[in-house]
Symmetry: D2
Subunit: 344 residues, 4 copies
Amino acid sequence: MTAKISFASDYVTGAHPQILQRLLETNLEPLPGYGADKYSAAAAAKIRAACSNDALDVFFLMGGTQANAVIIGTLLAPYQGVVAADSGHINVHEAGAVEYTGHKVLPLPQHEGKIEAAALARYLADFYADANHEHMVFPGLVYISHPTEYGTLYSKAELAALSEVCRRYKIPLFLDGARLIYGLASRSADLGLPDIAALCDVFYIGGTKAGTLCGEAVVMRPELTPPGFVTLTKQRGAMLAKGRLLGVQFDALFSDGLYQEIGRHAIAMAELLRQTLREAGCRFLLESPTNQQFIVMPNDKLAELQRHVDVSFWEKVDDAHTAIRLATCWSTRAEDIAALRQYL
Amino acid sequence: MTAKISFASDYVTGAHPQILQRLLETNLEPLPGYGADKYSAAAAAKIRAACSNDALDVFFLMGGTQANAVIIGTLLAPYQGVVAADSGHINVHEAGAVEYTGHKVLPLPQHEGKIEAAALARYLADFYADANHEHMVFPGLVYISHPTEYGTLYSKAELAALSEVCRRYKIPLFLDGARLIYGLASRSADLGLPDIAALCDVFYIGGTKAGTLCGEAVVMRPELTPPGFVTLTKQRGAMLAKGRLLGVQFDALFSDGLYQEIGRHAIAMAELLRQTLREAGCRFLLESPTNQQFIVMPNDKLAELQRHVDVSFWEKVDDAHTAIRLATCWSTRAEDIAALRQYL
Amino acid sequence: MTAKISFASDYVTGAHPQILQRLLETNLEPLPGYGADKYSAAAAAKIRAACSNDALDVFFLMGGTQANAVIIGTLLAPYQGVVAADSGHINVHEAGAVEYTGHKVLPLPQHEGKIEAAALARYLADFYADANHEHMVFPGLVYISHPTEYGTLYSKAELAALSEVCRRYKIPLFLDGARLIYGLASRSADLGLPDIAALCDVFYIGGTKAGTLCGEAVVMRPELTPPGFVTLTKQRGAMLAKGRLLGVQFDALFSDGLYQEIGRHAIAMAELLRQTLREAGCRFLLESPTNQQFIVMPNDKLAELQRHVDVSFWEKVDDAHTAIRLATCWSTRAEDIAALRQYL
Amino acid sequence: MTAKISFASDYVTGAHPQILQRLLETNLEPLPGYGADKYSAAAAAKIRAACSNDALDVFFLMGGTQANAVIIGTLLAPYQGVVAADSGHINVHEAGAVEYTGHKVLPLPQHEGKIEAAALARYLADFYADANHEHMVFPGLVYISHPTEYGTLYSKAELAALSEVCRRYKIPLFLDGARLIYGLASRSADLGLPDIAALCDVFYIGGTKAGTLCGEAVVMRPELTPPGFVTLTKQRGAMLAKGRLLGVQFDALFSDGLYQEIGRHAIAMAELLRQTLREAGCRFLLESPTNQQFIVMPNDKLAELQRHVDVSFWEKVDDAHTAIRLATCWSTRAEDIAALRQYL
């Protein structure tokens, strides 16, 4: 029996073969634990270079929700919360991980997954003008995702405007880059890693959705890194004994142009997918320039499609229609898309 | 120098004299601590009687935010959050006390401070229909305030409808009654304490804003009371050594018709206040049938008024206007309102 | 029926009459809420004067467990814990309130309730010498109680030695003064409030056990006070709407020599009690120079005594004997002790 | 340059080659995320079979501290703490991860890392006999490690006695099996997996220290599994998107006798190591029948040794001596031990 074709997510297959290969090659070397190994150091150095900033702190964590919870939970003072789009992953799909750390998510209205600098500025001005703000949760961090949960991207101008508001109020700007690879590789992108490193105060470069087995690389301005950060990651169950698992994978991901190659491939496949869906007459939920594509289908057609192809439930549109997500990644093949075409 | 007249809140003065008197009379009696005294027991019995239900659990806590945090934090399972109007006190003005207990506030749109049964039902149906709801915070409690933060009231039909939805989904309904006294005494009220005790699963009867020095009486269906509740209140810093302070005050409040009398007086004063404001041509922010009245004033007039009268900032309406709140309580006098009239 | 005589605790009666009187006199004054009233300000000023240090921050909280949890929970960084005697109140009888804030109590062996500077120094030296200390909870605060849970006192030399170790390691020293009044008034005392204010970094002056209805006055070096402290007290349910209740009481307690008078009286009664117990041939658990006295009784004699007198269970000594505590306070009368004599 | 020989821990090398091989073979299969893949299901089934109990729940988490925090934090009621040896990993070397979940560790004295049933029974009897126990943290779980942090083992009689006490008090018994593989393979072992599954209520089978890249398999009596457990693991950052990483590894570990083979090899190497150390005249800190061996060395000799061999600091014995740990694992070779011999 062949496995069903899957566009369910960008984490349906394992690791890119070059990454697995490096795990194999380094497997027998005795290495210190808890991230003190040489591969973690090498990976951090390569990431700093890719960000054009040698001074940045780089840490490796295991997954996106964990990264969000550790970063937000340790950067906020206890009287502060994190501002986010109401559609932000931390506000909807992380099971209350931020609140579990004792902090509130302060929602702003979203537009295709993004928040606007003007809306943020208005919120902050109103907050400090409120005579009762000492009884309210203070904004202590601004969270954005790029690409957003809808696959959309901030332009350089938009990110610069957000960054300017944040710096005016001395509030760090945090970018969730679980899918950053596809934001960088998209044809619509005008933001590179050095731009992001310059405009944000902390962000992470997703590995899990970019071709590693697990892992996210957190990049932080060193003056932000909380005292005792190593202890804090241990305390929150976020420290791997065999830290090499993350170090070796990110070292491979940032060697020999692999990160760019994976991004390029997945975006090329996403473009083919978009074109295929369009040709099949699909109705798009919105325009996404990255590796996630969202279409609206009649429920009966969807049920038929799902007999052959794995896709992701996105949201109920009305009683007869459902929005679904299709994603590409390093392992997506043109023939999978061709096969999909025949089931549409 | 005379103190300025104050309509700033319903907690600007101390305790009703009959309550203070009882503290004086019982002062020398040696009593067991931590709420095990006979006055706490007597107060609980009187509250059960007022609710027409002898089986209810009654506990005394010190203040409203503390009561909300202890109730919500101990009734929710750790994967659950509390549904509330986005304008709910717990969502806005309690400094993130719910999130500090590790739980999310799940906001629904408010209409004059209230949530609607239909909106709640839709939210719950959508939640359980969502294929990804295991990655989301589960609704585990519904919070309403009555009167609301805007002074408005649920009708019996509205509360019954909310209660019905909650029971259908087996989610307890929690009513924040910090100002319940004014909801019961309002001419618009069609809900009595027995109705509330029957339709809600847990609620509290505010003391602080009803004429005690401090204290809220929590009323709970006994099957809801979490195991170890006494220990939990100690753990959260919510247990008084001299529990008599709460017991004696609530015993006095629920003796000799005092609770009704304070409610009637404050509502009569609120009606006089409303009439006075209307006669002075004030613009009302909304119609409130309880002891809080909200008006919109030009900023310059407000500044002038505040030289003579204490009022509460409510919200910025536009660059030239501000909404303020005026509140009455047991100690409000007709002559204070007459004096206010001349400053308007 | 007369109430049983009670030596069960120092919080069996209400407030000292002079304190109640001031609540009565100020009851009708409209005052701002949340501790912004003039009586809270006056009380803070008098406490600063009593500490001979005008620069100290003073805050009022409602009870001892709450004060411990708010202070420890907001002064510690999240990777730190609080060092305490294993018999310390926070480690035994506060229902895990410190752990509820997310922090560990790091126990040191006690000697009559006290920790020794040498043992503290050894613990700290070992901690930092440990190659694995990044996987351990860092000591971030040292907690002592004075008088201790056993009624014993630190000498000035002992406190100075602890203070010196703490300052060497830059760890704040926190003194739980729930019963500080009796430590100051004891004939054995060689520590005054100014000494304590100079040697400790944060401490509180108990009100509840010193003759107020409730309340503890927290005294803190201002550079320690965490940003957002007002918001943090609200968040943790530790802020009273009618803050006047604490302000007026502490203002009265620190006026007209009342604090000294209450201390003197309770200590005189404790001396009479000790002499009476000794004359009755009681066996003392240990020598306590303050208002708590501990004796060991055969279980059958204790059962008989408790028919007439309320005392406190302290600990099981063996199958046939129990240690009990008897406490004096502002309301203890010589005739109560005389009556006790006859039941022994 | 050759890497230094390392006995620093049992996680210095990567994964056992058979495990890596399976990751490679399954890498391209599209699989559902979050642990819903078929390999996770197969691994769970094999673990149930190895425990001789088809009814058990099996979950996969990423590491030991995470497993301890998730299990303890979700099984305890909020007024409960976890009883453990004072030397227990959760009490010493997990950075306060249990306290971060809001719960206290209730320490009992250890004997070679173990707690005794009699001591546990005495503690529980005293707790419930204490008149003040409502102000104390209730024991809600008993934690043991097997092998302990000192490499020692509970006998079947000892574990049965602990289990009996726990069941009498209806307190679940939790066994931390991070190194369970070596406890099962030891010549001293009289406890098999089915015994442990029968006597404990929840335990985990370590992967990280047994030859996987990461992962621990939690085994739980199904009536204990908290509602919403999947959501709770997400909330605590403990859910992998590519859950296959854990499923495939544990499936391989429990196939073809690999688990037994790895255990046997590491124990054989540990015996060779022990013999070698003994022949070299080393002083043992204690007798360990498992893969960790502890010796005491003069500091100068240790410094010399560490130029050639990686070992682990264990504890300072006195000013001139240090205890160190040497560990074996799947990748330890006889020639490494021979090489060590010459440096001693």
